[in-house]
Amino acid sequence: MKRTLRRLLGPVAVALVALDVILGLFVTPPDIEQGDLVRLVYIHPALAWVALYVAFAMAGICSLLYLWPRTRSMTYDRLAASAVEIGVVFTILTLVTGSIWGRPTWGVWWTWDARLTSTALLAVMFLGYLALRRVPADPHVRARRCAVAALIAAVDVPIVHFSVIWWQTLHQGATVLNSNLTPTIHGLMAWTLLLSFVAFTLLFLWMVLVRYEIETLDEGEEDAELADALEARRQEGAPA
């Protein structure tokens, strides 16, 4: 059951993303002001949504489940790690697509808009988590450290969010937010937009599961390895 679901998830996610791209690139009309650039709207917001909300929430919840003694299991540790790893990819893609979009619309690659700034900050937090994960340690030790780190970071997200929003609005810079897009959206565009959110969320989940499976595969091999390792270790004592 779980297996078939996972098997299905991959093709479905990929197909939906493909459909989204086709609709976005060829079917929907170009924007009056932005021309073909508007097609980024079918990628970028969905990427951002996945990176910031889905990935962070998943990492936070899995970490919490890990820390809770009753539900503690390495599964959650691995899931959290996979979520962050894939989340970093999505965050970077958000920054890249955003910058590509920003260059023609705002005339600059980057502006100190609240959303952009908090995205960048959260990206660095993700990187910190990965740096911590690379520190050599016992798997359980690492799992606990990383779970705590993810939880602290997750708690910080709303605080960062509000402080950055206030920070920006108090000192209004020359930002053109995307309000000029809203009126131009017509039916098909709205559906494509909605589709993009669903498609990228599914894609994310699928990638996380694949990443998770690779790690568990390692782990499964480890079980077999462990038996060998135990045997080899016991032999060390035998007089040479």
């Binding site: 016992d138 462990l226 135990l230 270790r233 004592g237």
Partner: protein
């Protein structure tokens, strides 16, 4: 009465390497165990497991009525360990170190100076920051902490190393005293001549398991109490 230390098929991993590969062990309160074995046999790892400092990967472990897998914190409170490195604060003097450690362990800090004196740390040396002391003096301070704290399970990693002849004898005395007082002692050693006479049980480790258990040279007086 349940045994003070019970391990069955205990496996401990460091990274992916099994430092303990299935250890079985059983000790009663008041017994002294000496662990022998080649370098890398897993003696230090065994002590660290008994102290609740490393998680048990598989197998079973009970120390002083607490399970090692989920009650390690309770185990740690009742255990005293003298490792290869004593782990006290280099910036504090032996006196201050003992004072802090004893208060942290909720023991009367008044026992500190006496214990230091007994382990040969007095006068100038007791007032010098630990970082400046010689290797043997540091180990003496570690020993003094155990002696003042009187834990229920003593874990001694090569207790004789670096100590001079006079203090070596003291180790034997302290161990005997602890055992008579009902505490369990586990000590590793590379010097069977000095270590075996103080043991009830001698375990030989190799390759992460206990390969042989024999009885040690401790006079029967010890056994009776247990």
């Amino acid at each position: 009465m349940a045994p003070a230390v019970h391990l069955s098929n205990a496996v401990v991993l460091a990274g992916r390497f099994p430092v303990l590969a299935g250890v079985d062990l059983e000790l009663d309160a008041g017994q002294v165990l000496v662990v022998l074995g080649h370098n890398g046999a897993g003696k230090t790892s065994l002590l660290r497991l008994l102290a609740g400092l490393v998680p048990l990967t598989s197998g079973e472990g009970r120390i002083l009525e607490h399970r090692l897998d989920d009650q390690a914190r309770h185990v740690r409170r009742r255990v005293g360990m003298l490792g290869h490195d004593v782990g006290l604060y280099d910036d504090l003097t032996p006196h201050e170190n003992l004072r802090f450690a004893l208060r942290a362990a909720r023991v009367d800090p008044g026992a500190g100076p006496g214990a230091l004196e007994r382990c040969g740390i007095s006068g100038r040396v007791a007032m010098t920051p630990l970082g400046a002391l010689s290797a043997g003096q540091r180990r003496r301070v570690g020993l003094a902490l155990l002696c003042a704290r009187r834990p229920e399970l003593w874990l001694l990693d090569e207790p004789h190393a670096s100590l001079d002849t006079a203090t070596r004898q003291l180790v034997g005395e302290l161990v005997e005293e602890a055992a008579l007082g009902g505490a369990t002692v586990v000590a590793t050693s590379h010097e069977p001549e000095v270590a075996v006479p103080m043991a009830d049980v001698v375990a030989t480790m190799a390759g992460g398991i206990v390969i042989e258990t024999t009885s040690g040279g401790r006079p029967r007086g010890g056994k009776d109490v247990a």
